[in-house]
Amino acid sequence: MSLLTEQLKGFGITFRTMLRKPITLGYPENKTPVFPRFRGRHRLWQYEDGLEKCVGCSLCVAACPADCIRVVAEDNTEEHRVSAGERFARIYEINMARCIFCGYCEVACPFDAITLEHSYELSERERSSLIYTKDMLLAEHPKQVPLRTEGQRV
């Protein structure tokens, strides 16, 4: 085959593609939607009455292969009741710089207190900002991402 037909074939692809809808996204204005079971940033949950589901049992700590969760528990008292059980987590921290998003903590938790949610925008300018405290984990993440709908191909 001659050089010319080769080239025409190549340009053919180029022109065809030029007319297609682009598959890149204009991040950060547009975010890649994630699957419902995507494992992103953690969230600690509360019951409707405001009591924390977490009882500070440290099972997530034991399960975590990256050793990035730290829990320090304390007694609930009548005057200061944080969770439904006898104990609650006074300190609950996850070092997001170390987390490998395996989801073992979620599996280990007997109270569904911790889950991995969908946000993935976790970059910070300092490592120390990547240590998420209990307050941060109890609150909704400010940078939400869209979910994929059924059959959606981006």
């Binding site: 049992c57 034991a62 006898e86 104990r87």
Partner: protein
């Protein structure tokens, strides 16, 4: 804990039987569970605990199949018999074990996530390993109010209790305090005290260790950590000279819990701890802890860092035109003492090294007689306690003596001025203070007629009566089977003596103006016996460099104060009263401004221009082991985790270490200075031990109180030739008449003011100060 008893597979009279198809053997009389364990077969148990006593078969967990016996047998209470055929893994045995677990879990709450036992819970482990994995029980579970405070230190969760009776049996048969009992029956069974009051006693914490579930948990440790949050370090308790082997639970650089070793040292504490050893760690921090170095000079007082303080200490010590004195306290480690001796040989040439303690010479002959470790008490047929009150001063020894009486039928005799904590099991032979010699002569006759006597003798009381000590030494050596155990007064007294350090000489030199400076290592002479004399001797402008953990009278006045790490924070070696060298391990990190005592001393050597040839504690010990006969060849490796017994000192060891001969005279009342770990300074710093905190008192018998015309609402002033103290009166039955009992080591050091530095016999005058 030590769930299974030790089995000696090489002992005589082995019995051969079949275990899961294998031919194995064990000594006759061994319980099946122990024999199985020794051969690598774990039979699950809950109630069986050989240290507490004979099996009771309360939990039925240990079911196994024994051919020819109807039904399943409890392996914890079935001794091995020749040719028996045992199956622990047959379908019938497994079905039995699963069934028992299912019943135990029927009413067991789903508390694991909030239960302090979770992760180190035998019920969890055995459910996992031997359970059926499913429950057929869907009805509601029993409920109790929880948690309850069984005492100020122990929380009780009745829902979790599996009625194994271990705690009750500990209380009844080991501590023999007769307090705990099981109330109601069936699912309503509850642990409680007979009186319904709090379970306050001296050994209560052990029930936490023996409880196989989370029914009994430590209140100070409540929700503090999970087993995977912590590391455990084997160490040794530094609060009394028994030297119980402990395990430190560490989290975030701090000691959070002290427990008995899971693998007990049967020659020492057998896995038990007294409550002070268990919760006293709590007092290591606190407001009196020294966290920064202090230098006092012409410009006043300044807080500073370690480097600056060591430099200031160097100036103070080198500036002295006369030799320096080095005073070692009772908790100074062997390493620190050895480095101090090396400084005295080089950097501080001519320095005089002494320890705060009891002169060794009067007791040398007695110490040279055959010695025993504590386990020997169990094998004795006669146990004699000469002087002292071991239950308060060397607490764990009390449990051994009670065991000897209850389980082996030994005869227990206490001789001295007070019946003490063993009164309910011992025959008390009264001997007024100063009259031990006659009682010892009587004892000698009894020892001679007994097969295996063990004599425990009180260091302080026999040092005050050298004639009695000599008589006892003769009595012990007369019958070759007799063994003696010293009830020591000072934590590392034996270690300091092994290095040849005397208790006398330093104060005398100081008084004579022969010393230019004083270096104290974990020593507070201003709170020690003879403190009035010490204070007078330090009155001049002798600079004092104090290495201490907590602020005390000496650091308050010292020129340079260097904070050192406590025995929970640094490496070290302590020698127990029975001559065991044991390793203290670094647990907590301690305050940032403190350094290990040995490191400070090495740094001083460097600053003084004669650096020692080592830089670590282990090298310092190895160097000392090559130099001093008393600790020959001692290294960390040689000690391992269980320690080694050092050779007994020779009869002429420290022969010159004697105080002046003191005649007590006959004016006034005899002073008996007792030791009480529970009332001591360390215990008083620990908030967890608040139940033991009691003010120091002058304790007298009712007759003496009547003769003095005082009641226990009065305060008296005691006056001795050495000093005076004013104390509230307490009246206690059973004490010697014409004697006043005071406690050493309390926070106000009142008793110490009445005594001479060598603690010789003292008589005091009593005058009523205030009446109420």
């Amino acid at each position: 804990m030590a769930d299974y008893a030790r089995v000696d597979l090489d002992a005589e009279n082995q019995v051969t039987f079949e275990l899961n198809g294998r031919q194995v053997s064990a000594p006759a009389g061994t319980m099946l569970v122990d024999a199985c364990y020794a051969h690598g077969v774990e039979v699950p148990i809950f109630c069986y605990e050989p240290r507490i006593g004979p099996p009771v078969g309360a939990c039925r967990m240990c079911l196994v199949e024994v051919e020819g016996m109807r039904g399943l047998q409890t392996a914890c209470s079935t001794p091995v018999r020749p040719d028996m055929v045992v199956r622990t893994d047959s379908p019938a045995a497994k079905d039995g074990q699963e069934g028992v677990l299912e019943i135990l879990l029927m009413n067991h709450p789903l508390d694991c996530p909030v239960c302090d036992k979770g992760g180190e819970c035998p019920l969890q482990d055995r459910s996992f390993k031997f359970g059926g994995g499913k429950s057929r029980f869907f009805e509601g579970k029993r409920h109790f109010p929880k948690p309850l405070e069984l005492s100020s230190r122990i929380a009780l969760d009745q829902e979790r209790c599996i009625s194994c009776f271990r705690c009750v049996r500990f209380s009844q048969e080991v501590a023999q305090d007769g307090q705990l009992t099981m109330q109601e029956r069936g699912v309503q069974s509850q642990i409680t005290t007979f009186s319904g009051d709090a379970y306050e006693d001296r050994f209560t914490g052990n029930i936490i260790d023996v409880c196989p579930v989370g029914a009994l948990t430590s209140i100070p440790y409540r929700f503090v950590a999970r087993p995977w949050d912590i590391t455990n370090t084997p160490s040794v308790c530094g609060l009394c000279p028994v030297g119980c082997n402990t395990e430190l639970t560490l989290r975030d650089g701090d000691v959070k819990r002290v427990t008995g070793r899971p693998d007990p040292n049967y020659e020492v504490e057998e896995g038990w701890l007294c409550d002070v050893g268990r919760w006293g760690f709590d007092g290591d921090g606190g407001i009196t802890r020294l966290t920064r170095a202090i230098v006092r000079d012409a410009n006043g007082e300044r807080h500073t860092d370690l480097t600056d303080a060591v430099a200031a200490a160097t100036v103070a010590l080198r500036g002295a035109s006369k030799p320096v004195g080095v005073l070692l306290g009772a908790t100074a480690t062997v390493e620190e003492a050895a480095i101090a001796l090396e400084l005295a040989g080089g950097a501080l040439a001519g320095a005089r090294v002494a320890r705060l303690g009891i002169p060794a010479a009067p007791l040398a002959a007695l110490r040279a007689t055959p010695r025993a470790q504590l386990d020997e008490i169990e094998r004795a047929d006669l146990v004699a306690v000469v002087g002292g009150d071991p239950g308060l001063a060397q607490p764990i020894t009390e449990l051994r003596m009670r065991k000897a009486v209850l389980r082996n039928g030994a005869r227990l005799v206490t001789i001295g001025s007070r019946p003490g904590t063993l009164a309910d099991v011992a025959t008390h032979v009264h001997a007024a203070p100063g009259a031990l010699t006659a009682a010892v002569a009587e004892l000698a006759a009894q020892i001679g007629a007994t097969g295996r006597p063990v004599v425990l003798w009180d260091e302080a009381e026999l040092a005050a009566e050298p004639a009695a000590a000599e008589a006892l030494a003769e009595a012990v050596s007369a019958n070759g089977a007799t063994r003696q155990i010293e009830l020591g007064a000072d934590v590392n007294g034996a270690g300091l003596r092994a290095l040849g350090i005397p208790a006398t000489g330093l104060l005398e030199a100081l008084e004579a103006g022969e010393l230019g400076a004083l270096l104290t290592v974990r020593a507070d002479p201003r709170s020690a016996p003879g403190r009035v004399a010490w204070e007078a001797a330090l009155e001049g402008d002798v600079p004092v460099v104090a290495l201490a953990t907590h602020a005390d009278r000496t650091t308050d006045a010292a020129t340079v104060v260097i904070p050192v790490q406590s025995l929970l924070e640094q490496e070290g070696t302590l020698v127990s009263m029975t001559g065991r060298a044991q390793r203290v391990r670094r647990g907590a990190e301690g305050p940032a401004g403190a350094a290990p005592g040995w490191e400070v001393l090495i740094a001083l050597g460097h600053h003084l221009g004669a650096p020692p040839a080592y830089r670590t504690a282990s090298a310092a010990l190895a160097a000392a082991g090559g130099r001093y006969a008393g600790i020959e060849g001692l290294t960390y490796d040689a000690m391992g985790v269980g320690g080694v017994e050092l050779p007994r000192p020779a009869a002429d060891h420290l022969a010159a270490d004697a105080g002046p001969a003191r005649a007590a005279g006959s004016d006034g009342l005899a002073l008996v200075a007792t030791r009480d770990v529970y009332g001591g300074r360390e215990a008083s710093r620990a908030p967890a031990l608040a139940a033991f905190h009691a003010p120091a008192a002058a304790t007298v018998s009712p007759a003496t109180a009547a003769a003095l015309d005082v009641t226990d609402a009065d305060t008296v002033t005691l006056t001795s030739p050495y000093g005076a103290a004013s104390l509230p009166v307490r009246i206690v039955d059973g004490l010697s008449d014409d004697a006043v009992f005071v406690t050493l080591g309390t926070a106000d050091a009142a008793a110490e003011a009445l005594m001479p530095p060598d603690r010789g016999p003292v008589r005091v005058g009593v005058s009523v100060e205030a009446r109420r």
